[in-house]
Each structure stands twice: as C-alpha cells, then as structure tokens.
C-alpha cells in the first residue's frame, strides 16, 4: 500500500528524498495543497510563504542531485510559530500591535533550518504574544483543533499543533513558557517537547517571559521531534541564557526500550485534581502499565504540590511579561486582545517582594525535582487532565486554574515532552508527559519511543 506523502515521517521522507523516490518539490506542493484544502477550517497559518517554499524546495532538490547533504531536514517542509523572526517575512505575534512587523533578520532557529536546507511553508497562529487566547478579537482567527473544529487546539503554539496534527507539516516550531508546546501537543494528538532551558537559542523569538521561555518542536512522532531538536539545539553566544555545552545525541536511546529504567510518578499532581477526566485517568493507568510491561520500574513519588509550581511560575511569568509590554499597556491598551490584557496586566499588581519570593521558591522547587531525579531516570505525569475543551468552554478563565500540568517544568527548566496515548470516546486525543534530568532529552525520547511503539498508529490522524 502506498503511504500518502503527508504520512511519511521526517526520517521516511528523508530516505525517499535521498534515494530519488520523491522530490522536495513534490513534498512541498503536497503540503501547499493541504493548506489550500484544510486551512480554511483549522486556521493554522497566518502567512503562507508559497514562493519561498517552492524556491527552498528547488534548492534542496538541486543539492540532492549534486550529492550535497546538509542534514535530516533538507528538503522537508516545516513551519514556525509567528513569534519567530524571519527576515523579510511578516512576523506578527498574532497581535494588532505587530500586524505589519517585518523583521530584518532571521531568528537563530530560522537560521538553523535554512542552513539545513529545510523548506519554510509559513508562519503559524499563536495566542497573542504567546499568552492571550483563544481569542476572536485579534486580526486573525484562532486555530481550531483538527480532530474537531468546535474544540480549541490549546495554546499558545496553537497553529503549530494544528498544522502537525492535520498532516500539513511533519514538524513545526513552538515555544513554551507554561505549557505552550505541550498543551497543543496534548490537545491535538502530537508530540511536543519543551527542551531543557538554555538548550535552544531564543534569539529572535519575541519573549513572553525571559526566564521561562523555551523553544522546541512539535512533531508527528517521537523520532521526528528528536530529529528536529537535534537541528535547533546548541550554544548561541547571542542568547544570554544559552547553555555552553556539547550537544548530546538525542536519537541515541531510540529503540533501546525501557527495561530496567526507573520511572517516578508524582500521582498527587493529577490524581486528586477535579479536572482529571475518568478516561484520562484510565489512559494514564494503561500507559504506565505498558511501561511496566516493557520492564520499567514505576514508583510513586512525592513532589511539592503542583499549586506551588503553578503559583511560582505564574508570578514570574506575569511580572516578566508585563515588564516587556508595560509601555504599550499605558499607551495602546485597547490594541491588546481582551484576554491578553487581562492575563498580562496582572504583572502590574505584583510587588518586588512577591517576585523575589517566587524566585526563592523556584530554587527550592527545582532542587526538589532534581533530588527526585537522582534516583530515577525520568518522571511521568499528566500533560492535559482532559481532552480539548470546546471554544465555548474556554472563555476567560481563572488564571490559577488550568487543565494542563505543565508549568512545573518551566519553573525547573527540566526537559518535558507531551505525547499522545490514545483517543477518548469523544474522538479527541489524550496525552501523557515525560520529564527528564536537565539536558537528558535523550532519555525522554527513549521512554517516549518505547511507549509510542505500544500505541496504535492508526489513531494518530484526525478525520479531516
């Protein structure tokens, strides 16, 4: 049976490109045709860079013909969340405040994909400034969940989740300050990894919160996420938080299984939360049982309560976000979407002492998580507590209450990946979160790949 082009993973497409079985132009035209067919329904794209994509594809095909191999993304279409600067291409942050912004330079991540000969398909929807959404009072509509367009994608990397899930791209870059990669990955049924803080350069990415922002990929498979992370990871002296250390081999553990690995489960994070759905609880049980059946040792552990992580992270996030936008808050208040204003504006009400206490707590929480990881290879916990809500259920929400359990690892900086573990009875994806030691993304991918091997692959595409 012939596999549709959009169902080829990055690795599979790469093999066919290198063997001459397909061309980058074919892959790119197929992706553009899927945008034409689907994007009116899912609103994943703000800007489609059609001419640039076809040009990139021609260059990649020429390189293949000349025996030039720039890396695993050569000739592969991808897209960027619209907070990544792209030279000469509109970069809006999904906001009226930047609706005509055209940067002069590429972000570090865009540079790296260009150097690999990847094909830029376009710029993707986001919650405004990676915070305020889903909103209908912005210049562009919010992305919709490909599994059911009445439901949200999660955010803020909303277009990234939708575009990967819909099979338009195999990989899209997102950013994650409190769960903005892992949330859309969870709700859209794809893999999303927030790497260790400092692993991927944030240069040229519009900041939400300097000390919590992480850049990372959303992809269709664990392997594709590892391949994409390998392209973008690495020291950047022009990012003040970039970690100056050698890049590990993220693919080294794939296929090695989990036999003998020790996995910690902070069950109290999620099991007592009233937002946890019965089906998600059962799916979590099943996933943990699968890891045990594969030979992992799965044990309960106690971490500080999730509410402390959430409070700590939000105080820091609101403070840093407001500091970035305070002048616009004073002079252009009505140009922010309502949700953005109501969330980000909270930063104005945080005192210096509040913020300092949050940073002191942050050190304690980080030490606590990493003390646990001295005895375990990874932590497995919930990602989203339920399936994606409908738009009508996702209005202005109490900022302390979130059906995601992601902020903890923005606070600590540990790598954390959300991946799908099945479909609920409403036809929407359910997910799990795997967390590793700092800079041990390879272990996160190893555990994820083992779990992925146990999940029915035919559940992975929405019925669009």
């Amino acid at each position: 049976m012939t596999v549709p082009l959009h169902d080829l993973s990055i690795a599979q497409a790469g093999e066919r490109l290198r063997s001459g079985a397909i061309t980058s132009r074919q892959l790119t035209e197929h992706a553009l045709s899927r945008i034409d067919a689907l994007d009116d329904r899912i609103h994943a794209f703000i800007t489609v860079t059609r001419e640039r994509a076809l040009s990139d594809a021609s260059v990649a095909d020429q390189d293949f013909a000349n025996g030039v191999d720039r890396g695993p993304m050569q000739g592969i279409p991808f897209a960027l969340k619209d907070i990544y600067d792209t030279a000469g291409i509109l970069t809006t942050c999904h906001s009226k405040l930047r609706e005509h912004n055209v940067p002069g330079r590429d972000s570090a991540v865009a540079e790296k994909f260009a150097a690999q000969g990847a094909v830029l398909l376009g710029k993707l929807s986001t919650h405004e400034f990676a915070l305020g959404g889903p909103s209908f009072d912005l210049p562009w509509p919010p992305a919709r969940n490909p599994w059911n367009q009445d439901h949200i994608t999660g955010g803020s990397s909303s277009g990234s989740g939708a575009a990967v899930s819909a099979g338009i791209v195999r990989m899209a870059m997102g950013s994650d300050t409190g769960g903005s990669i892992r949330g859309p990955a969870a709700y859209c049924g794809v893999v999303g990894i927030k790497p260790t803080f400092g692993l991927v350069s944030r240069r040229g990415v519009f900041p939400l919160s300097h000390s919590l922002d992480h850049c990372g990929p959303l992809a269709w498979t664990v392997e594709d996420a590892a391949i994409a992370l390998d392209v973008v990871a690495g020291y950047d002296p022009r990012d003040p938080s970039s970690a100056e250390r050698a890049k590990p081999d993220f693919l080294a553990g794939l296929g090695r299984g989990v036999e003998g690995l020790r996995i910690a489960v902070p069950r109290h994070f999620f099991a007592q939360d009233p937002d946890l759905s019965v089906e998600t609880a059962a799916a979590m049980d099943a996933a943990l049982s699968k890891l045990e059946a594969l030979g992992a040792v799965v044990e309960d552990v106690r971490l500080p309560d999730y509410e402390l992580f959430a409070a700590c992270g939000r105080i820091i996030m609101f403070s840093e976000a407001f500091s970035i936008h305070e002048n616009d808050f004073r002079t252009r208040a009505l140009d922010f979407g309502k949700l953005t204003y109501m969330r980000m504006g909270l930063g104005a009400f945080i005192t210096a002492s509040d913020l300092t206490q949050a940073h002191r707590l942050r050190r304690q929480l980080t030490q606590s998580v990493n003390a646990t990881l001295r005895n375990y290879d990874g932590i497995v916990t919930a990602s989203a507590l339920s399936t994606a809500p409908r738009f009508i259920e996702a209005g202005p929400r109490n900022p302390a209450a979130s059906p995601l359990q992601s902020m903890s690892f923005n606070v600590t900086g540990n790598p954390a990946m959300s991946m799908p573990i099945g479909l609920a009875s409403n036809g929407l994806p359910m997910s799990i979160q795997i967390v590793g030691k700092p800079f041990d993304e390879a272990m996160v991918f190893r555990i994820g790949a083992a779990l992925e091997s146990q999940i029915r692959h035919d559940l992975r595409r929405p019925p669009l």
């Binding site: 000390s211 099991a271 009233p274 402390l308 940073h359």
Partner: protein, 102 residues
C-alpha cells in the same frame, strides 16, 4: 501484566481542599489575610493600578479585578518556610551577567 488502578478523579470538594487549603507549604497567616473585605480588595487594586500608571478600559476592569483576586491567592502560596539561605533562582551571577554579546 499487572494492571493497577492508580488514578482517580477527585470530587469537587477536593478542589477547595487542594487549591486553597492544606497545601504543603502554605502559610496560614497569608491565607487569612485573603479574607479582607471586597471594598478593601478594590481599593488595593485601584492603588496598584494607579502606581503602574494603568488606565484600565471599562470593559476590561472586571476581568482584571477577578484575575487580581486569584493573584492574591497565588502570592499567598509563595510565602512559606523559605530559609534565609535559600537565595532566589535569579541570583546575580557575575560571570553570566558580564558576558559581552558578540
């Protein structure tokens, strides 16, 4: 294969318990302070908005004030037994801060 029931959704009553009640580190004094009356909260909100030089649009005031109530809960959670030697995660680091951008 051993199958265990490990996760159980909580009841609504557990929400209050979990979110505002006996959290690991919550400082009771700080939580008691949250019981200030509504007028006092509004006065505090207005004073902080004024200090930040914010002129809050009418249609956004109620939402922001509601968020502020939640923020006060979050702030209360921060104040637990932090020992004096526990420095902020953002502690000034001369090597990092003095790096000159190329």
């Amino acid at each position: 294969m051993r199958v265990r029931r490990i996760c159980r959704p909580a009841t609504r009553s557990a929400l209050a318990f979990n979110r505002y009640g006996p959290l690991n580190f919550a400082n009771e004094e700080a939580l008691v302070a949250l019981s200030q009356d509504e007028d006092e909260i509004v006065r505090e909100f207005d004073a902080l908005a004024s200090r930040a030089q914010l002129q809050i649009p009418d249609d956004r005031r109620a939402g922001l004030l509601n968020g502020y109530r939640e923020l006060r809960h979050m702030v209360a959670l921060l104040r637990h037994d932090l020992t004096p030697d526990l420095e902020p995660a953002s502690t000034f680091d001369i090597a990092a801060v003095s790096k000159v951008r190329p």
